[in-house]
């Protein structure tokens, strides 16, 4: 079979599995993940797919990779009972306009807006969170 991909892409399935292992402690904080070559053997996928999966975790801040060394599980934010930020340092998502934003942008309440969020930290502590709202790509 060449490469069918229905449903969830394999790299996401693998990313979820690895995430599971990190959060459950199977791969403890600070530990090295198995090498890409090992993961390709375990999941029976190509190296590119593994790298894509690891890239997902890296963007989520769960791991950090070093050239020639390997990929480390990130040390836990020691708050430990504080929920993990569900998003990385910067990201965008679509949100529904609250009444104030709706009025400003002259759209219906609940209309889709683009929110870009960026987080400023010093060391670990969050200093500021900036959310920028815009209209979805300008209708021409």
């Amino acid at each position: 079979m060449p490469t069918p991909h229905y449903g969830t892409p394999r790299y996401r399935v693998i990313a979820n599995e690895l995430k599971e292992r990190i959060e459950s402690g199977v791969i403890p904080p600070g530990a090295l993940l198995p090498a890409e070559s090992v993961l390709t053997a375990e999941f029976r996928v190509s190296r590119g797919t593994i790298r894509q999966a690891v890239a997902v975790l890296r963007e989520a801040g769960l791991v950090a990779t070093e050239h020639g060394r390997g990929t480390y599980a990130s040390p836990r934010p020691q708050g430990s009972r504080v929920a993990r930020p569900s998003r990385s340092e910067t990201g965008h998502r679509e949100i529904a306009a609250d009444p104030e934003l709706a009025a400003l942008f002259a759209v219906e309440v609940g209309a889709a807006l683009l929110e870009q969020q960026s987080i400023s930290r010093t060391h670990e502590a969050v200093v500021a969170v900036v959310r920028t709202y815009r209209l979805p790509r300008p209708s021409q």
Copy 2:
């Protein structure tokens, strides 16, 4: 020729070039970037390399990609300090932390946060609304 690559990787060179075009206005905000196949021809690299370059821009928030449509230049790169806030368009107030902000700032849900809002307009139309959240002045 196999694939020599010294110095800056090609995908970064290409990302910088595209970034240049977006910030200089050669590719105006909201416009479609050339298709991956076109960029492949222009830069004479494989599609994978082009996708890697575009991924850099996407993470930086300079572009957004839609399946089957193409990649759009974002309305507003963050670098350019555009329009005067024209004053009076900004204000601050105290708000209650929603779960996401609470997690980021490591405070209780509902705790007081400072929100500063500024509104950018061109002519009359609202272009963007920026909300910055911070912890209240520490009493110390």
